[in-house]
Symmetry: C2
Subunit: 217 residues, 2 copies
DNA sequence: TTGCTGTAGTTAGAAGCTATAACCAATCAG
DNA sequence: CTGATTGGTTATAGCTTCTAACTACAGCAA
């Protein structure tokens, strides 16, 4: 037996789960998470309502799976860009492209939180993974003295960066990169720039450009 | 007849509408917009289900009313702070306090958009009202040459600022103020800083401090 | 005061949703 | 071949939004 691999049943199961998620993404892209209906998905798949519960225990569990996939996707995208030699500006463009390709997927991660809901632990792990890349791209290798009050504040509150030895000023840049990009991006995707005719991409570029390791923050 | 004013019926109607919205806000604060149930509100008010439709034609119309109130609230808050002499840093703190007081109200405006939904025109008017205050606070009175590519881009795309004669660099600052503050704030309120123990208020302060009319952007 | 009108409320019910229960058929393992 | 597991079914409870039809009351005019 040369490495049995997944059984036929398991492959089928994975396949159906994937199809369910596929249709779920389509529904979400069209009308948002609130409109996600297990019933409707089941019908489109040719099976009747409750059959779907063999694959996802509840609507929430399906959504959680989608959230996990979204995190995984953005993390892989960022990691790939970084490995490909992208600098901060490049990372910003890659992330923005990723978000614009499927805004509702972006909002599934960074949009309105559901008060009770707690994301599974592995998603926060993936978040840290992204942050690690950002810290690296923010010039983790240089030695830098803290320059602002928040820098010194970060010296004492850097556990979130794991064991990363980057100076606080670098952590600060990574955080600012994240928040600035998210600021432009989420307002853009939510349509708050509709009517104003400027190019949000240019704004995003400049918001992030001020953070380049060389230039002043 | 000394200015008849609203009739008894009209006052009652306004009162009930207000009570409905009050309970709606409570439900939203507790469990988010998806959990908002007209039925549940009606029962809490001691009346039975469909009676509520005398006051709001649909669930969406109720939510729209809440959105309108939220816009009005933030606009009044910003305007009052500006009239009270607050500078950019002060405005940022006031807005952040407003948002933290009721995160779901903030997200009702700035959170995940519903793909089909179009906000009523008057809310975008209120948005412009806020932007006008921000532009003013960003030093609309000074003459300034465009300093970045985005500044020059804005010279040709400034209709959104209405008739405001502020130089493009000022419009740029106002936009950056908005996006940077929203970036920190929405990630903070959505819980993405949970676990990282730094103070988001400090980060917000410094993100905005770089935009003060004197300092470099 | 009488009588009309419009409004606020009621119950009943359609259509949709999530989710559970109970059952049937096919498949895989021993 | 037998027996357990799995994927599917239908029925059903309980929730939702929202419409329809009806009742009762408040306010206004003659």
């Amino acid at each position: 037996m040369t490495d049995a691999g997944p059984s036929s049943r398991e492959r089928y199961r994975a396949q159906v789960r994937a199809e369910i998620k596929q249709h779920a993404w389509e529904q979400i892209a069209e009308a948002g998470v609130p409109a996600l209906s297990l019933n409707a998905i089941a019908k489109r798949l040719g099976m009747s309502g409750p059959a779907l519960y063999r694959y996802f225990a509840s609507r929430d569990e399906l959504i959680t799976a989608l959230i996990r996939d979204a995190y995984r996707s953005v993390a892989d995208t960022v990691r790939a860009a970084h490995d490909g030699g992208a600098d901060l500006a490049g990372l910003a463009r890659v992330i923005r492209d990723w978000a614009r390709k499927d805004p509702q997927r972006y909002f599934l991660i960074y949009g309105t939180p559901v008060p009770g809901y707690r994301a599974p632990d592995d998603t926060t792990a993936i978040s840290h993974e992204v942050m690690a890349v950002l810290i690296e791209a923010c010039g983790a290798r240089q030695a830098e003295a803290p320059a602002t009050p928040f820098d010194t504040h970060l010296e004492d509150h850097r556990e979130w960066a794991g064991d990363h030895p980057a100076p606080a000023a670098v952590l600060h840049r990574a955080l600012s990169f994240w928040t600035r990009l998210h600021g432009v991006l989420s307002l853009e995707l939510a349509g708050h720039f509709a009517g104003m005719r400027f190019d949000p991409g240019l704004l995003a570029d400049e918001e992030v450009a001020g953070l380049a390791p060389g230039s002043e923050g």
